[in-house]
């Protein structure tokens, strides 16, 4: 794939199949803007899939979700361009997500899920074509063999609620190792080491192949990335690639929402009622120690900016704490600068955005640090104690711990949110500032029933 600046449309290719297998990078020219935009769009799809899977959506629900996500983000008025967008965005993200084991795993599992549901949405004719593309070494079961095991095959078909196989039904005879998921669920008849896979189950087969293809490709891409691409492209693609996997795809909360404002006098109250655990913990530690290390100052400071704490108030707030430990003079000299910096008043004057969950979860707090995601970085014991202080009841506590054990940290936080606010929350927590804003909304709507601390929304 070549990346070029000229705004020339790539020629439309007729040979593009309905579903690409992304075997090799296409000889397409891509505008640099598209390079990034397409990748962002695909990333939105993958993120949606990842959220859907971690919320435990059923296969039918996932099928619909994937179709919707694809329509929303990957549509293109011109059909060949849509196909190109699909391919280009895949290869860009492959570059982005090849770089660590964790990134590869995430990409692999969501791309595979994407492929699975796109495959299912194809016509049988197109599915057969794709099967042929994979060049699977499997033979269809001959009619004599079929007659011999027809009873067993119908048994399995009935078990699955499928219609009984007709005499000309197509079955593939496959080593059982290659359809693990069908074996595990006893959803296939197995004899002498071979699984008899019905046409409507070949998706398992194809997905296994797709996955192993992608897995190998990611390793190769990683090698190429570290050996040549990163250096060659250090001025052009590398910054884009490195930014893409950390970029958060929702609203970035760099500007306080809905003109909300918070003043220092309210901050204790709202911290108690509406801060997510990660921020609450930093806030309490700051009050306790009158100090936070750099990671903590960044995570909490930018969050407070997003919450609506103005620069002057932020300076006063941090000074009030830090001066108790280091003295007012040292605070002005050493710490005030970075607070102004966060607000874009110093240095390169970037208005920094508050950290997203993804960024916080992937941080690596060291000794003496209090930043990071408590669901990920706390020991079970500490997390339980912290949740208890927040007022999470024991039923919800177990749900939270269950999610934590399965490494669904954002879901754990969502459950905490639901437990504390006593209302369901379908959106799912993706950002600490989203937690805060929606918490305030709920509390405000409850104001009629009692005096609940809240922001004044103007």
């Amino acid at each position: 794939m070549e990346i070029v600046r000229p705004q020339r449309k790539p020629p439309s290719g007729d040979a593009v199949p309905t579903l690409p297998l992304y075997r090799s990078a296409p000889p397409l020219e891509v505008r640099l803007e598209d390079f990034e935009l397409y990748a962002m769009d695909r990333l939105r799809v993958l993120k949606g899939i990842s959220d859907g899977l971690s919320r435990g959506k059923k296969p039918e629900e996932m099928e619909k979700l994937v179709t919707d996500l694809w329509k929303t983000h990957m549509r293109h008025p011109h059909a060949p361009d849509a196909a190109n967008k699909d391919i280009i965005s895949h290869f860009v993200l492959r570059l982005v997500y090849c770089r660590t084991e964790e990134l590869r795993k995430w990409f692999l599992s969501n791309e595979t899920a994407l492929f699975r549901y796109r495959f299912l949405a194809q016509t049988p004719e197109a599915q057969r074509k794709l099967m042929a593309e994979f060049d699977l070494p499997y033979k269809a079961v001959s009619s004599t063999e079929f007659e011999g095991i027809k009873d067993k095959l119908s048994q399995v078909a009935r078990l699955l609620g499928h219609s009984l196989p007709a005499s000309d039904a197509l079955f593939y005879k496959v080593p059982f190792e290659e359809v693990s998921e069908l074996v595990a669920g006893r959803r296939v008849f197995i004899q002498k080491g071979y699984a008899y896979v019905a046409m409507n189950q070949v998706v398992s087969l194809v997905v296994t192949q797709f996955r192993s293809l992608q897995s190998k490709a990611l390793i190769l891409t990683n090698r190429k990335w570290t050996s040549t691409i990163r250096e060659e492209e250090k001025d052009r693609l590398t910054p884009i690639v490195e930014a893409l996997c950390t970029s958060y795809l929702g609203p970035d909360y760099s500007q306080p929402k809905e003109f909300s404002e918070v003043s220092i006098k309210d901050i204790n109250q709202i911290a108690k009622s509406s801060f997510p655990l990660c921020m609450r913990h930093l806030f309490e530690k700051l009050r306790e120690d009158h100090h936070l290390k750099h990671g903590g100052r960044m995570q909490l400071g930018l969050f407070l900016k997003g919450v609506g704490l103005k620069l002057e108030d932020a300076l006063a707030f941090w000074k009030a704490e830090f001066s108790q430990k280091v003295g007012a003079e040292r605070f002005d000299k050493e710490y005030a600068y970075s607070i102004r910096h966060n607000y874009g008043r110093e240095g390169k004057r970037t208005d920094y955005t508050p950290y997203s969950c993804q960024k916080i979860i992937s941080s690596t707090p060291g000794v003496g640090d209090h930043h990071g995601c408590p669901y990920r970085h706390f020991s079970e014991e500490n997390l339980r104690a912290a949740l208890c202080r927040m007022g999470v009841n024991s039923g919800a506590m177990e749900d939270v711990m269950e999610k934590v054990r399965n490494r669904h940290y954002q879901l754990a936080c969502t459950i905490t949110f639901e437990a504390i606010h006593g209302s369901s929350y379908d959106a799912g927590i993706n950002h600490p500032n989203q937690y805060f804003t929606d918490s305030q909304k709920i509390l405000k709507s409850k104001l009629h029933f009692g005096d609940v601390p809240s922001l004044k929304l103007m």
Binding site: G161, E177, V183, A184, G185, R186, I190, Q191, G193, Y194
Partner: protein, 483 residues
Amino acid sequence: MSDDGREEADNQRDQMSIDAAEEVNPNHLKLYYGRLFPYADMFKWLSYGNDGKHPGCDASFFGRREFSFTLDNDVYLRFQSFNTLPDLENSIKDKSPSKIDIGPVYSVDPSKRHAYAQSGVNVFTPVERELVFDIDITDYDDVRYCCSGADVCLDCWPLMTVAIKVIDAALREDFGFNHILWVFSGRRGVHCWVCDGKARRLTNEQRAAIADYFRVYKGNENSGKKVSLAGPVLHPFLVRSYADFLKDFFETKLLSSQNLFLTEERYEKILEMIPDNSVTSELRGKWQQNTRRSSAPKEDINLVRWAQLKSTLQSGKQKGQGLRRCVEEIVFCFAYPRLDMEVSKHMNHLLKAPFCVHPKTGGYLDVLSVLEMNASAMKEDQFSHITRCYHVILSGRVCVPIDPDNCDEFDPTRVPMLSQLLGELNIEGRTADDGNVWDGTSLGKSIRFFRSSFLQPLLKSCKEEIESSYSSKLQQSKSSISW
């Protein structure tokens, strides 16, 4: 066992106190390793043909296998490896481990793993491992009334026998495996080693899939029904298990041997599995009356009540598949094999070697070290489970192979014991350089079976595999040269 032989042995060995069923004497263990343990057979087995002279052999194969030793002072030695048969033999004789575990074959010699780790690339990883299964009678405590925990008797051992039959049939007929070794685990249960090349190279995911294929138990202590067979029909594997093994075993053996319907408490447990109050109250009514007036003495009350339950559930007036399925669910719940899933799912899970002698002394720490070494693959509930059944570990019985085709004849109470073997050895009066010293002992039958039914066919197909893969490699390199 021969009492005379034992007495004689006792006298000859300077009045050492031997209570065979209780303790394993370290000196006895030394003698066992010195004269009886079948090193050559173990080496041949775990070499899988790679100890031959064929150019296709992988000479490093055996040396990359992990062994772990539990020593008498509760020291646990992991990642032992041996390049040759004499290395293996000398080390075992020297250390006289109270337990030997076999791990996977790694990508590199496990004893040198640190050296490889320093290279920065993670190359130390398991590459081959037999597909293994572990079934323990202690997992059946809620369905057996004759014994619990530590004990096993001829009434409950058949649960193991039927487990062997069900799993063995599926491994051969469904999965197409041929080289399967069943071993008395010495822990009141059985181990299974599937040794086909294809089985040894399964990934963890594929192992988990097979384990899940075998799983019918869902739910837990609190959820009442533990077996749930959903769907309009059963999977062919479950149909075979039921029709060929479980139904007959349940009805002709287990019902009466465990007296499953004898008391109210017992039949209530079964009635709990029926989700229809009209059925259960009808049956309960019959049985409560039945208890008061003493029934005909010749009739087995368990059989009678089971027949009543079946006819009520299967009678025409009971609508719905769910209720008719209940009969099968009850049978599965009582008789279907209960596998320790974690053991089968991971390549790097250690399993006790065949022909070990199960120790009693040091048992507790032994268990702890097993927990430690498998910590990654073990959940907390298993920890408590194992500590709970720690007292199962007893006696100096040898972990001998079990013939799956004749497993009905296997009697755990007659498995050779260490002291007995040593007694027999003394009667034989042979010296160590007689060759097959074990031939005249009770161990002879087991080793002969191991060789003829397992090792020989295995090595034959290993040889074929090595030859065919070598010739296809040759073919490949030839064609690449011509290109």
